[in-house]
């Protein structure tokens, strides 16, 4: 058993940490306040190979593994969740369907631009009335005599579809009775409409949209993998995505904890730093403990996936635990900041707003419990 990171993983973690502290942190507050998508940061992450961490170098990827990817997301989320989710959604949800299930022509057409961050990819699964119940998809794709498809329907809460870099969305659609097929739709396709940015509680610098498809015509080459494989494909995509969302929750918790620790050492009350009070010390001790446990779960799930072993159960454990621990940690981190924690003067209020979605997105806490319960009963 070896709990040490390899030299390469440690070097990557240090590099992403420095980048996040030097490049992302100075603009995070402004991006959040102005609800501005970080185009320049995405471009720089692309140059560093971080917009396609787990994909092979031959297709333009970073040549890393799942652990490298999880470390990248954790370090970005330690500073800014909007940047972290932009990378995570692009990688796990946007690019991985094409990388894992795409034809040679599809991977050749899309991956070099996606892995380098020149273009962003989105994944359209959730619908206005089909969230956790993804099988209730209503978007329909009707095959035409020439093998092309006409798509009608709507998608909801889609990340990365509407930025100036957005190039492509993979959507789930019904192609027959109970038959779900994934289709690749390029931005600019007639009939593919993207809503203005949705207003939301947090993740203000990330791009979230509603998509509509009105007689949207896509060619036969838009079909991802065999027709009817959509359900199997998106379940696999979500399993992998859970590791990155767990890493995101872990990074957010780590960042919140460090801010609370720094503040508790600086802030004086009753003539002493508040870190001298046991009430504060116990909060910090609990945070440290839970974060350490969460980190082991995330790394174990990544380790299993990298060894080609079944990882879905471990990913669900990691997602559920880190989602809930990030809630507890950020809540107490704001509490330690007192009144200042409620002000936008400190980053901790942004962390608090950015946290809640981690218990909802890519499988709610309840769905994780269902998955875990099914596996053990």
């Amino acid at each position: 058993m070896d709990f040490d990171l390899s030299d390469e993983h440690a070097a990557l973690r240090d590099t992403v940490r420095t980048f996040a502290e030097k490049v992302v942190a100075p603009v995070a507050e402004e991006l959040d306040r102005e609800h501005r998508f970080p185009v320049d940061i995405v471009r720089r992450l692309g140059e560093m190979g971080l917009m396609g961490v787990p994909f092979p170098v031959e297709v333009g990827g970073g040549g890393g593994d799942t652990l490298a990817y999880a470390l990248t997301i954790e370090e970005l989320a330690r500073i800014d969740s909007s940047v972290a989710i932009t990378v995570a959604a692009h990688t796990s949800l946007g690019t991985s369907p094409i990388a894992n299930f795409g034809s040679a022509a599809q991977t050749e057409r899309y991956l070099p631009d996606l892995c380098s961050g020149r273009r962003l990819a989105a994944f359209g699964l959730t619908e206005p009335e089909a969230g956790s119940d993804a099988g209730a998809t209503r978007t329909r794709a009707v095959e035409q005599p020439d093998g092309s498809f006409v798509v009608n329907g709507a998608k909801m809460f889609i990340t990365n579809a509407g930025t100036e870099l957005s190039g492509v969305v993979t959507i789930t659609a019904l192609t027959g009775d109970g038959e779900i097929t994934n289709l690749i739709v390029e931005n600019g396709t007639p009939g593919y409409e993207i809503s203005p940015p949705l207003r939301k509680m947090g993740w203000h610098a990330s791009d979230t949209r509603a998509l509509t498809f009105a007689d949207c015509h896509v060619g036969p080459d838009a079909v991802l993998g065999p027709r009817g494989a959509g359900l199997r494909q998106f379940l696999a995509i979500l399993d992998g995505g859970r590791i990155s969302v767990a890493a995101l929750a872990l990074g957010l918790a780590q960042g919140a904890y460090e801010q609370a620790l720094t503040y508790a050492r600086q802030r004086n009350a009753f003539g002493r730093p508040i870190a001298a009070f046991q009430a504060i010390q116990f909060k910090l001790a609990d945070m440290e403990t839970e974060i350490a446990a969460g980190r082991h779960l995330v790394r174990h799930a990544a380790w299993l996936k990298d060894r080609g072993r079944p990882f879905a159960h471990a990913a669900a454990l990691a997602k559920l635990y880190t989602g809930e621990l990030s809630h507890r940690v950020v809540n107490e981190a704001v509490q330690i900041h007192g009144g200042y924690g409620y002000m936008d003067e400190y980053p901790i209020s942004r962390f608090y707003r950015d946290q809640k979605i981690l218990e909802i997105g890519e499988g709610t806490n309840e769905v994780q419990r269902l998955l875990i319960a099914r596996a053990i009963i």
Binding site: E8, A11, M48, L50, G62, G63, G64, A68
Partner: protein, 260 residues
Amino acid sequence: MKIAICVKEVPDPTAEKRIDPGTNRLVRTGENTLNPYDRHAIEEAVRIKESGVETEISIVLVGPASAARTVDKALAQGGDRSVHLADDGLADSDILATSRALAALLERDAYDLVLFGQQASDAECYVMAAAVAERLDRPCVSQAASLTLDGSTLRVKRQVETGYDTVEMPLPAVVSVSDAINEPRYPSLPAIMGAKRKPHEVLSLADAGIDPDTVGGAGSRTTVRGLSKPAGRGASVRIEDDGTAAEKILAFLVENKVVV
């Protein structure tokens, strides 16, 4: 063109420096990393290479075997190969001894240009480039703010207190670059993953043909006799801004002949 970059492993510059009171030496048992000033030298070499000049960039390091990770960090930043002198006999080397070891390594190959960062973030001496140049009998410029290659001539804009000097020097030469010369890029993931696969040469003192008596404690000529904290700033004047702070500051500066 063959460029060598002399890099150093230093204690993590974001951590607080500690001195071992028994040995009067910097504690190096914590996290160690690449001297941040050296990144500017590597970046400058990479830019020369990217400008179209056929270039091989060698990372040269004197330090313990555990510094191999730092060598890889430097390679990920942009080196093609490394030369690492790792020998227990090097422990306790001062500037004189370390410059001897570096010069011996640099003499093994015909480097056109040897680059250094302006200083090391641990000892902050600023002089290693000059010491090595002296041993190699090569021209040396410090605090380079820009480098321009013109055939076998190197034009260096040198940052000085009053502005810039422009110096021309024939190659081969030794240059220490200022931290204002460029903004080093962040290493890419493929470069980080590929660093270990680049050619690494790890040498002992015997391999490098260095007499053990000329390096390490035996080859050093300085001894740290004592350490003390710098004297306090003495009496300071605190000015609260009630709308007249600027005038009060000016009066203070004039009174102390800082401005006239």
